[in-house]
């Protein structure tokens, strides 16, 4: 079963607020991922685990954007199809598809994404709050991250297929995303 886990959460979570031992300005860690050719990110503190998609059991009568349920070491976990929730065109599962186990403080929910990119560290000057983000999925968006603005956080996956570009990341709000 353990080969299904790409990576356990081993990176020290950096608190969104609160004292840090280092004197440097506050830095937030995000996990960047791909969804229909766009770069998104969720706060690293909300991610419990990254899984290769386990067999999914479809739940009749469930909302459209719920993919189904999976078993994570005996625990039944709901998986959300993030493309559907963000009202994007459907996409097929590929070998890069991953399920992020996201903890919004009330429940751990699986979120299906196209590919995982990297952990991005964003300083205050690289964050732009959601006020000027429009669109019909604005409720899920916390803001925009511009990792290029400081030159930090750029990294590439070793397989070379997906690389984080010096571009923008759409920062999602896990609570809003999982609220129903």
């Amino acid at each position: 079963m353990s080969e299904g886990i790409v990576r356990q959460k081993t990176i020290m979570p950096v608190p969104a607020s609160g004292p840090s031992s280092a004197p440097e300005p506050e830095v937030f860690e995000y996990l960047g991922f791909m969804l229909a050719d766009e770069q998104y990110a969720l706060p690293l503190t909300s991610i419990r685990e990254i899984l290769k998609p386990p067999p999914v059991t479809h739940v009749p009568r469930a909302p459209q954007d719920i993919l189904g349920v999976v078993s994570v070491r005996g625990r039944v976990t709901t998986v959300v199809d993030l493309r559907r929730r963000l009202r994007m065109p459907e996409g097929a599962m590929t070998k890069f598809s991953r399920v992020l186990l996201v903890d919004d403080g009330r429940e751990v929910v699986g979120v299906l994404v196209d590919a995982v990119l990297a952990v991005v560290r964003l300083g205050p000057q690289e964050l732009e709050l959601a006020a000027n983000v429009g669109g019909d999925t604005a409720e899920y968006v916390r803001g925009i991250g511009r990792p290029g603005a400081r030159g930090a956080g750029r990294s590439a996956r070793s397989d070379g297929r997906w690389t984080l570009k010096d571009d923008i990341l759409i920062l999602l709000d896990p609570r809003a995303l999982l609220r129903r």
Partner: protein
């Protein structure tokens, strides 16, 4: 303060809460017995002592843990109970009301520290506590040994007076005990005397000095004939004599033995407590406090009580139910591991050179499997608790509700030892309370009305519980007026639930079902208890959340019976695995009656619904694939099966493609995001990382059969 300390604090607090809860529950039970005794006019002084001790212990531990309000209530009650046992206050229904209210207050306070206003309750206690005048007794007319009179405690004095007032003759029993066996011999004497006589006090008497034995001078009161007493109590080393009244000739009494001054507590042989380990199992008679009080008096019962509370930690452990849930999950995961090992040994077996190894692995795995099953049974067993816990609470509700409604009700409880999963018991208390209140308010008539109807003025409410297969059935039955189907129907029409013209189509059961509709009431006036229309629908929702159903049967003028059918446990259940449109579902066996091959030609259509006839009864059918829109209707397979699902008195045939046998499953709840999805009780890991949804039989029956019921009604309305 470190986190560990906080955890410890929480643990200690939980411990306090659990222990207090136990004391309060025992208190509640004792009060109910006392209530019955009071009605019969024979309150047992020992029981009052028992209650007094319980409250005293509670006061002690509440003080220790800073629950000051609990301590204050306990303190006030302790005073009241002290007055009761010393006869300064007479036990009446009003006093019992105050005592019962005390139990409620304890529970409120233990549930939530803040926000309980006790000032009114303090006044209630004050009101019933006003001491009565000391009564004149004929005590002086007895020729009692002044030595005895000098050393008795206030409590003994009270018991002595009470017996004299009741005209019970007094006796003295001189008995010799061997020092080696005095503890058991004395208890034995008490047990023997208990049915016919009350031992008021006893003191060592100074007879011949003997190293190995001690003489006791026992004062007792009894209505039994002297001969009978002699027969019962007098043996080789003892002597019984009546205490003469003054003026009468002293007959058998020679010069009374001089009485030694009261010995210090340490040397008071008989009061040495029983060993700690048996504290929970000793009968109340042994816990009798009289001899504790005999020498040190009322002021120092603390010592005895402290001993009791120390002993109570003996040989039980309290466990948080979540820890058991966790263990159950681990067992579930071990079962998955076992399946994996099984598959591995099969793989090995395929290789000739590894055959030997495969066989050994297989054998080890079988042994693992057996132990695992035992472990699972063990954990399940720990989760089971007797229904007595809530039945006691309900008995209080019955008493209180009956008094508020000026109704006389006798509660009969059967099967309180029936065991159910702890979590189910927790969730049962509210629904049962609603049903009982409903029965008392709407069902059982006032005494005068009952007499006019030719019934006994006292109504009977029966609470029965018993196990039936994998289910537990709980019945609440009253001998009241019954449910008036016409009245229910009218109310349902008024609320627009049904068309007026539909009456003929509805059976009595269909009409009774309306009482479970949200907001339903037949009352025009709202009473304090029920009639607000909240309740019965909540009952139904709560019960079905537990995977159960509630049925009602009623006969006008004779009574009403609510029957709740529940699974015994939610933790692990046997389930039938079925396959529909390539997907596997689990159906709890508690709800499955049988499964059979569906013969297409047997299907008939009645009122637009498919049915078959099964052993003379019509069974409505439901296609699971249609219900869940799993595939286009045309793609149905050639062969299908019917799983006959039944709960309470409702039955439904579920049509599935394949049967995949029976297995034990651990139901995991669906997450919050799926809580609004109806029809599933949860999901389960089938061991190969594949999840199967568990069908919720009670909600499916409800949904499908309701649709069937409402169809003709809608036609009639339009």
């Amino acid at each position: 303060m470190s986190t560990d300390d906080q955890d410890d604090d929480l643990d200690v607090r939980d411990e306090f809460l659990a222990e207090s809860q136990e004391i309060v529950e025992a208190l509640s039970r004792d009060l109910l017995v006392l209530d019955q005794m009071q009605k019969e006019g024979t309150p047992d002084p020992d029981l009052i002592n028992e209650i007094f001790r319980g409250v005293h212990t509670l006061k002690g531990i509440a003080g220790m843990f800073g629950y000051h309000q609990v301590g204050a209530v306990a303190h006030a009650l302790e005073d009241l109970l002290d007055d009761l046992r010393l006869g300064r206050v007479t036990l009446t229904q009003e006093v019992l009301d105050v005592l019962f209210e005390g139990v409620e207050n304890f529970q409120r306070l233990l549930g939530d520290q803040a926000g309980v206003d006790l000032s009114q309750y303090a006044q209630s206690i004050e009101r019933v506590s006003s001491p009565k005048e000391a009564p004149a007794t004929g005590l002086e007319s007895y020729d009692l040994d002044p030595g005895v009179l000098a050393v008795r405690t206030e409590y003994e004095e009270h018991r002595l007076r009470t017996n004299v007032e009741q005209g019970n003759p007094l006796y003295r029993l001189k008995v010799r005990f061997s020092l080696a066996s005095i503890d058991t011999a004395l208890e034995e004497l008490k047990t023997r005397a208990k049915p016919v006589a009350e031992i008021i006090t006893y003191l060592p008497s100074m007879g011949e000095i003997d190293r190995d034995s001690i003489d006791l001078d026992v004062l007792l009161a009894s209505r039994a004939p002297e001969d009978e007493l002699r027969e019962l109590l007098v043996h080789d080393d003892s002597e019984l004599m009546a205490v003469p009244r003054k003026g009468a000739e002293a007959t058998s009494v020679a010069s009374p033995a001089p009485v030694v001054p009261p010995p210090p507590p340490e040397s008071h042989g008989p009061s040495v407590p029983v060993p700690a380990a048996v504290a929970h199992s000793i009968p109340p008679a042994v816990l009798d406090s009289k001899h504790d009080d005999a020498s040190h008096g009322a002021a120092s019962h603390d010592e005895a009580v402290d001993l009791l509370s120390l002993r109570s930690v003996a040989n039980t452990v309290r466990v948080d139910i979540r820890k058991l849930d966790h263990l159950m999950n681990v067992v579930g995961e071990l079962a998955i591991v076992r399946t994996a090992i099984g598959a591995l040994s099969e793989t090995l077996r395929a290789k000739p050179e590894l055959r030997q190894l495969a066989t050994e692995l297989h054998r080890a795995n079988r042994s693992f499997e057996r132990n695992l099953a035992e472990l699972q049974d063990g954990i399940l067993d720990v989760r089971m608790v007797p229904l007595r816990q809530i039945f006691d609470k309900l008995a209080r509700v019955v008493r209180q509700t009956a008094r508020e409604h000026e109704k006389e009700i006798r509660l009969v409880v059967n099967g309180a030892d029936t065991e159910v999963d702890k979590l189910i018991v927790e969730e049962l208390s509210d629904p049962l309370m609603h049903i009982i209140r409903n029965s008392i308010d709407h069902g059982i008539e006032k005494p005068k009305v009952r007499e006019l109807a030719g019934k006994a003025p006292e109504g009977t409410l029966a609470l029965n519980a018993y196990q039936k297969g994998n289910n537990v059935l709980i019945e609440v039955e009253d001998d009241g007026a019954g449910i008036n189907a016409e009245k229910i129907f009218e109310a349902a029409v008024r609320r627009g639930l049904v068309s007026k013209d539909a009456r003929a189509e509805l059976s009595q059961e269909d009409i009774f079902d309306f009482i479970f509709t949200a907001g339903f009431t037949t009352r025009s006036a709202i009473t304090d208890l029920s009639g607000r229309g909240v309740g019965m629908d909540v009952v139904k929702t709560n019960i079905s959340r537990l995977g159960g159903v509630v049925d009602v049967a009623s006969e006008s003028g004779i009574g009403t019976k609510f029957t709740i059918t529940l699974p015994i446990t939610l933790a692990i259940i046997s389930a039938l695995i079925v396959k529909v449109a390539g997907r596997r579902f689990a159906l709890p066996l508690t709800a499955v009656e049988e499964a059979l091959l569906l013969r297409r030609e047997a299907i008939r259509t009645v009122e637009g619904r498919d049915v078959i006839t099964l052993r003379g009864a019509t069974l409505p059918l439901c296609r699971v694939d249609d219900l869940f829109e799993l595939r286009a209707a045309a793609q149905s397979p050639d062969k299908s099966f019917v799983v006959v699902t039944a709960l309470g008195n409702r039955r439904l045939g579920l049509i599935v493609d394949e049967l995949h046998g029976q297995r034990d499953i651990v139901i995991k709840p669906l997450g919050k995001s799926l809580r609004d999805v109806r029809g599933f009780a949860g999901a389960t890991d089938l061991g190969d990382q594949n999840v199967a949804l568990v069908l919720d039989a009670s909600s499916l029956l409800e949904e499908v059969l309701k649709r069937a019921d409402s169809a003709p009604i809608l036609e009639a309305t339009t």
